[in-house]
């Protein structure tokens, strides 16, 4: 089964989770996801997800000016985002457990 298929459903949760402890700018988020093992995730998908979460009111954003490089726009979780992370996390946990027991029987 294609990981990219699976990813489409949970990218929101992944991005929220990555931002839980520390704010990040786009490329940063992408890097953390890749380092965590999600190598298949596409750039544009991450940015699109960030925009969608922001527009849904789950993220704050602010720009950090920089002398040497380009200004970075950071995203962070706000209250709504944390609630959403908690809720989605629970849903995922339940789903994963269900799948585990199903697959455990088969594989």
């Amino acid at each position: 089964m294609e990981i990219s298929q699976l990813l489409k459903g949970v990218l929101d949760l992944a991005v929220l989770a990555v931002l839980r402890d520390e704010d990040g700018y786009g490329y940063d988020v992408l890097r953390r996801l890749r380092q965590a093992g999600l190598e298949e995730v596409g750039d544009a998908s991450v940015y699109g997800t960030l925009r969608r979460l922001y527009n849904a009111g789950a993220l704050t954003s602010y720009v950090v000016p920089s002398e040497e490089g380009p200004h970075r726009k950071y995203y962070g979780l706000n209250e709504t985002g944390r609630e959403r992370l908690a809720d989605s996390g629970k849903t995922w946990r339940a789903f994963a457990d269900t799948m585990d027991s199903l697959v455990g029987a088969a594989a």
Binding site: L11, Y25, G26, Y27, L30, G42, D43, A44, S45, V46, Y47, G48, T49, L50, R51, R52, Y54, N55, A56, G57, S61, Y62, V63, G69, P70, H71, R72, K73, E83
Partner: protein, 377 residues
Amino acid sequence: MTIKTDPAVAEYLARTKTALAGLPASEVEEIIGDIGPHLSEIADELDEVTVDALSERLGTPEQYAAELRAAAGYPADGPEPAGSSTALPRLTLWGLTAGVFAAFVLGLAGPFGRYPPVPMSVFAVFALLGVALLLSGTVRVGDLYDLPEAAAARQSGRRFVAALPARLVGFFRSLRPAWGVLRTLVLAAALLLGLARAEAAQMFLVVAALVLTLGFRSRTDQRLRWGVAAANAFAIGYTLVLTAWLVSVIPYRNDVYLVDSSPNVPQQRNVYVFGPDGRPLSEVYLYDQDGNPINVLKMSCDEIYGDVTNQVPQPIVERLDTGECVERTGPPFTVVIPRASTPPSVLTSIPPASAPPTSTPPATTPPATSLSAPASK
């Protein structure tokens, strides 16, 4: 100052921007702001920076834009899908906004029952439609947020807050729990006043607002946030009008009142003035010995509680069972102004020709003279 010196990066960005056509301009700017630095970093890692090289990594600008649209939940490029996909959310959003505005207007009218000339029923219809659509699940909260005008409103809101000094924003944020208490108090006051005046519609709405804001799910259920916003708007309008009334009434504290001394309930006092011929004077202005106006409560069919005036007599305001209001001018009685020869039941004015008692031998003074009257008082 964003350093985008590389022409290939600039071209990639330009093509991406073109491929994002149809999205709100502010959103496109935000996206370009996000990916621009990223592209610059990738460009640094490449030996030869060309659009092709970038495309190898990220896909062509058009593919990139398409993937971005898909992930962000934007409509794919091409002609806008048939209006029905945004019509209902749009109707809901504007209906709910109308509802919040109507709540504000209701709040303005609340304390004194004066409704500004605004088509309340129109707002109410739209608001109810919006509420119905939202609560029934026909329109999802996410759909509302996805609307371009909602995104634009959020952007300008955020920019506004970002432009304010941080300390000010922090101060107002810290006041938030106090606002919750204040809002509940205002709603309770409105409820009591509404009970006193038996205004069913207002009472119902206020009860609904109280339940909503004191209830549990309003924090997490995004749909109920609209109700909370409406409750806030009502409370703000109500408080504004009350404050304005208080401010206008305070300067009158030192004026002279024709009222009973009970401080809580200003009694209605009216003054009827009659000329020497017994005819009532219809418009007189009262002043005391220092030139201060002597005030009574202004009476009128418009409910303006607390207004005072030194014009007398004030009309008698009668509210009929039919709901109509009638202002009766003119005194509800007639008087007979006695002349000097009648028994002294009323103080009469003595013509100046009559001498003061000391110069007139008491024996010859008619007993009806009222000169003795002031002495006995």
